[in-house]
């Protein structure tokens, strides 16, 4: 069970159902009108794609409670599929993107099948191992040569063949924002559906869920598949934006970054991870930290969040709303404090 998942839900506890989201999207739509330089447009474009990726982690790690540390795998598989299919197989970009998302879903399904019988830290260890194997393969091997005799693969990655030479930065910005909005909307609908409710039950107490007739392993696998579809979508978008698939797309840092951003934003809320990822990505880019320092910062951020704000930003806001709007005097639960497991069997 995720340690920060004891937030109350319900009509009084969802301050993000109103106009907040619309206001945020409106601001992002208007941002390019303030004539920012191309660097900031690029930072935001990448931020939108990483936010979609983080939200996809939240489907698996937050809503379903399967703490995956190999979420970069479906993302990286999609970027590599885009690169390989366009550059080597000569597929048109839209077809390559569709195939990339499908491949990511298949990889996610396989990860889900392997990790569904496991729980807690074993899920994290298994997914971390799978992600690292893929990362090492991608980083350590120049596994084929492209036309013209020079080597592709390895740290240098593989280029994506795009049907355009230089995409206008604003086109990429709005396309990425559109992808983020559509993906987030779909994930929010999922989280508020019957399936989302069941996934939250599986995350909260697997044994009670099973004793309520829920085939928990099937729902865990479904969470991995659905989360990987969205990770693959973000990956395909990322490959198109960057124009290259590299081993970094499969790295532990990317998975760890998604978990950290989601925890800071508020696990299991979709909106929180999106906001957290966007804000933190922009801040970290502004700081221009080297990769090693970034990982250290992620770890420290995660530590501080879990210790002092286990509900993340959205969880803390919800808790405040719960306190203000709740009228019958029932005290809200302290986020992060659940009942102990075990029934004396």
């Amino acid at each position: 069970m995720s340690p920060w998942r004891t937030l109350p839900s319900g009509p009084w506890a969802d301050p993000f159902r109103g106009g907040w989201l619309a206001a945020g999207i409106g601001l992002l739509l208007l941002f390019p009108l303030s004539s920012p330089n191309a660097y900031f447009i690029d930072v935001f474009t990448t931020g939108f794609l990483l936010a979609a990726f983080t939200a996809s982690w939240d489907v698996i790690g937050g809503i379903a409670g399967q703490f995956t540390l190999g979420h970069a795998l479906p993302f990286g598989v999609a970027t590599y599929a885009c690169a390989l299919l366009t550059s080597v197989a000569g597929w048109p970009l839209p077809l390559a993107c569709a195939a990339a998302v499908l491949l990511a879903a298949l990889v996610g399904t396989a990860m889900g099948a392997l990790s569904a019988p496991l729980s807690g830290p074993f899920v994290a260890l298994l997914t971390l191992s799978l992600g690292e194997i893929a990362h090492e393969v991608a980083a350590g091997h120049t596994f084929f040569s492209g036309p013209g005799g020079y080597a592709w693969g390895g740290e240098g990655g593989i280029p994506v063949t795009l049907p355009w030479v230089d995409a206008p930065p604003l086109a990429s910005y709005y396309a990425a924002l559109c992808l983020l909005c559509l993906a987030s909307f779909a994930m929010l609908r999922l989280s508020r559906s019957r399936m989302g409710l069941i996934l939250r039950a599986v995350a909260g107490s697997p044994i009670t869920a099973q004793a309520s007739g829920i085939p928990i392993e099937r729902f865990k696998r479904m969470a991995f598949t659905v989360g990987s579809v969205f990770a693959g979508t973000a990956g395909a978008g990322f490959a198109v934006h960057v124009g290259r698939a590299t081993a970094t797309d499969l790295s532990l840092e990317l998975s760890f970054q998604a978990a950290t951003f989601a925890a800071v934003g508020g696990c299991g809320t979709i909106v929180g991870p999106v906001v957290g990822a966007l804000v933190l990505h922009v801040l970290l880019q502004a700081l221009s930290l080297p990769p090693s320092a970034r990982v250290l910062l992620y770890a420290l951020t995660l530590l501080v969040t879990l210790r002092f704000f286990p509900g993340g930003v959205v969880g803390t806001v919800r808790m405040a709303a719960w306190r203000v709007l709740r009228k019958d005097g029932v005290r809200p639960p302290r986020a992060g404090v659940g009942r102990p497991e075990g029934d004396g069997r």
Binding site: R5, S9, R194, T208, A211, I214, R345
Partner: protein, 229 residues
Amino acid sequence: MTVLLSAEGIRKSFDGTRVLDGVSFSIAPGEPVGVFGPNGAGKTTLVNILSGLLRPDAGKVSLEGKEITRLSLDARYRLGIARTFQIPHPYPSLLVREAVSVALAANGRGTPEEKGAGDSADGPVEELLARTGLFNQRFVPCSLLSQGCLHRLEFARALACRPKLLILDEVFSALSAADEEDLLALLRKTNGDDGTAFLLVSHNPPLLKSVCQRILVLEEGRIVRERNL
């Protein structure tokens, strides 16, 4: 006699220690049965095997003549064998109403959106909440419920599948007298009105005598006595 559930020659060992040693009995449809025994007699292991949480080393469990020994906990729930836990494990992030909706959803009954905010007393969710005395707590997070309310929620969850057999493991052991009386009344009503059979495990012989027609006495993994009341 028509048999609802039968257990034949159930054996189970943990690390070489025999916990159940050839337990056999049957339950008729609608029959209220009690299981009594000292600590370590194997009561909870028997409950876990009957409900599908554990598999026996030997023996078989059948429901209405069909063997279900290898079926999981969730599959047996969907067939109509519902169990409650001695110590409830509530969903920490769900409301009471949502927790009941989960059990209904597993059986294709009710949806979270079915009645909007759930203010109506209609619909299967609200019906179950009203029946178990939880209607006024429907918007309270499960993690805030008292022990008594948690056991009521366990009842609501178990009743969501319209069970043929309820398995209740030490459900009254940590309850106040008022909660115990309420849940006993609910149990009698469920047994009387719906014809639901139950297997009630308890340390308390007077309590068993008050609701059961037959009591099985379990000692050292064996049924040593069977008493019709």
